[in-house]
Each structure stands twice: as structure tokens, then as C-alpha cells.
Amino acid sequence: MKILVPIKRVVDYNVRIRVKKDGSGVETANVKMSMNPFCEISVEEAVRIVEAGKADEIVVVTIGGRQCQEILRTALAMGADRAILVETDLAVQPLAIAKLLKAIVEKEEPGLIITGKQAIDDDNNQTGQMLSALLGWPQATFASSIEFTGGGIRVAREVDDGLETVDIKLPSVVTTDLRLNEPRYVKLPNIMKAKKKPLDVMTPDDLGIDVTPSIEVLNVADPPARSAGVRVADVQELVDKLHNEAKVI
């Protein structure tokens, strides 16, 4: 079985982002970029599934500018076999991403797609579900464990009420949550090996997909500021303030 892992390049999670003064977006020039943390977890899970003998090939795919090759190489160094870059400089929105991925799925015919539940830039949490809908496949979102059963998978999902377990048929789409695994550190020899692994580049036009956004971003602004309040000396003063000043207890 082949596993397809769609990944995204985002502003590194340690970076304190800055909103551009003209309100057009968030500053990404000269900012450290990395693979989205949930995508790293997805690559790691795919590698573990192959290591366990449940699958035999991992294809990673991303959609974005030429620089996205970096994260594809990282994924290859983690253990993926091949990479695909759908190159575009447009900010492609989740539905169009899902359509591009569907076109790739039709070529690659994976038995399982593993992708992050959300990217930490736009926080949309949509692409996996949309792809699953377009394919008519089952989905298991927010996965914290994946177990192979006869003909399908059993997934524990992190939901608001706790952990929900579902059985889904294959092929299917799984979106990963934080506690699914801890991604491995990439070792130098593997980085060298990754340079020789195949990386195909194509465009949305090659796949015949229109990626024009249906949602316009009119403005991006700083959130309302919340200023620091006062320091209290001890617990007694704290309780006094909460009771008599803030009147919340």
C-alpha cells in the first residue's frame, strides 16, 4: 500500500509573527520557515507504518513556491520515498488544495492519506476533510492513534468530550493531532540520501485545476492588545482584589 502525505511550509512555530503595516498579511520575508508541526507528525506516522510493514511507499506532496522543496527534502530525509511539488506562488485556499490533491490521488492511487489537522498559519483545519469529501472516502480527523484492523483502520480521535474511537474503511483520509507521535530527528546521512530521492515538480495547470480563491482577504490586523495588569504581593491580596475589585469571586 502507498501512503500519500500532503504537507505545508509555514512560518516556524517559534517565530513571533508581525502583521504587515499595509494590512495585506503577515510578514514572511526573512522569517524562519519550517514544515507545519502537524505535517511532521503525519510524515512520522507514515514512516512508522512502513517500518511496521503495513505499507511500502510514502509519497509526500506540497503546494507552494519553489522554496517548498526544503520541506519536501526534510520529509524525504525522515523516510519518505518520493516527493511532488505543485508549484505556484498564489496563496491557494483549502478547497483548491483539496482539488489539486484529488488530481494527484487519481494518479498515485494511495490506500491511505495522512495529513495534519491544521496548518499553524491560517488555522483552517479544512483540507483533509475537503479532500476526503471530494474523493468520497471516509475520514478520521484529529487522530491520536491509528491501528490497522482487517481491511480498515481503527482511529482514536481527540474530540471535545475526550477520545472517540471510530473504525473506517480504506482508502481513507486521516488528519493528525499532536499526541499521535513524536517526530524523529533527521540524521545527517539521511539528509544526504534524501538529496538523491526523486522530486517531481508540476503546476496547477498541469493538473487542470483552477486555483482562483473564492474568499478574499480584505485586511489583516493585529489583535486587540491586552495589557499587563498589576502584580500582587501575596495570595491574600490576590483574593482581596478578585473579591472586592474585579468582583469575580
Partner: protein, 314 residues
Amino acid sequence: MGILVIAEHDKHAIRGATLNTIGAAVQLGDDITLLVAGSNCGAAAGAGAGITGVSRVLHADAPHYDHGLAEELAPLVAACSEGMTHVLAPANTFGKNLMPRVAALLDVGMIADVVSVESADTFVRPIYAGNAMATVKSNDAVKVITARATNFDAVEAEGGAAPVEAAGNLTDPAGLSGFVSLDSPESERPELTSAKIILSGGRGFGSGENFRMLEDVADKLGAAIGASRAAVDAGYVSNDYQVGQTGKIVAPDLYIAIGISGAIQHLAGMKESKVIVAINKDEEAPIFEIADYGLVADLFQALPELSAELDKLD
């Protein structure tokens, strides 16, 4: 023309976040249809009819709609969306699982985590863990939206008298997925997302056993208990406690963060709280930058003191 709201329910009652979602819907128009889909959920449909602001309830009852499986519900919601201008659900794990699937079936984009309605097609939503706010305009014929409960006032659960209609366009079972179990910790405490007071703990507690020290103070305050991602990752408590960018978004009257340093992704989940208290022994901890009241103290001393001071209040 109309607005469709997808109810989250437990077969008997409509869950709280749906009332906030209707609170967002009433800002868009007054023709609001509430879809109550499930198995043997007539009581929930009846409860939905009583909600202020609901014009009619669409009750879709079939075994395959049980447990809210997205593969089963999405085609139904898409079918019920015909003629609608907006389709809304709460921005929690229920809505986030379901609504992108609905949007894809309708071939439209989706606007997630809406915190403000600017007009019928323009909305504000947080990006980058709430470190930036994007104003977005949808050019799609149907706007598929998830609304953040903490940013919209709940409508009254009672006072309405909407008619309940049986949905006529029930979809066939997809049969792609099956519910196995829900492992939900039993708790007498208020639910995290609707609690007035939340006491939240972080890695500072050092162990799951120490984390339980929060319970005494939480009981005295009638508070819910939350946790930072670090505390959940370390296994002190289960995932349903997590507050943050990828956990729950909360906005109680009082949020007390104890032993939490204040990582960006944690602040994303609680910075809309009315009053924030931070107790941390590290005076440089970022949590103090947004706290209304900060106390630099060792939590193992401060918690018993807090408990004793609360006793004096009564």
C-alpha cells in the same frame, strides 16, 4: 433564502455552543432553520423548537445519523443547504470535523472560526493562533461557517415556539465509517467551554498527582479545570482538558493560570477571558504580560494558601 444552523445535541438537549452559533446567525438574518440530525433525537428537536430566534426545526432521524459521523451528516447538510445563503455550525470538534466536508460537497470555500460578523459576506477570523485577525469576504453563493462560541452571545434556550418538520430529503447511508466508543472522563465540574471560572494548570505541577491539587480550589470556586498543552503532553491529564490554539477556546469571567508559562498557542485559547490571573514562580513568564493580576509564587505554597483564603470569604 435563509440560514441553516447545524445543531450539536445529545439526543435529548441542544448543546450550549449551538446557542452561541445561533447568536451569530441572528446577526445575518431572521429566517433561521435549525437542523437536528441524529437517531432517536426527537427530544432534541423539540428542545430546538423552543430556542429563541429559531424559525423552524428540521428533524432528520435515521440510524446512520447517530454519533454525528461526518460521512453520513455531510450529504444531508449539503442537501438541506439548498436555497440557503449561510450554513453555520459551532467551531468545536463537531463543527470542524463536519463543515469542511459540507463545503467541499457544495463546491464552496469555508470560513472557519468566525469571531465577528461584519456583513452578510464579510467576517473576521483569527489566524496564526490569534496573533493576527483577518477580515475575509466570501464570494461563494453559500457561506459555510464555523463560529467561535466565545465571541457570540448565546440566544435563550427557551421562549421560542418554532414548528418542527421532518426532513424530507434523508440521504442514504454512506457506510464508510463506524462509531466504536467514546471515552469521556466523568466529572461533576462545569464544562470547560461554558464555565464562569476556570483553573488551569501547566507543567509547573510536575506530575499528574500534583495536578490534582487544583481540585480542592476548583471545588471551592465551582470552577472547571483546564490544562496547558505541556501538561497534557506530559500525561498529567487527558486531552479534553487542553486549552489553546489546537485545544479548546475558552473565555470565562475568571481564568486562573497556575504553573503555566504562557506559550503563544496557550494564550490563543484563553486571552479573551474577562479577568486573567497568573501564578508562576518565574517572574519573566510571558503569561504575566496578559494577566490582570500576577502573583510570583511557588504554586505548591500558593495553592494551599488560596484554598485557605477562599474559606475566609464565606
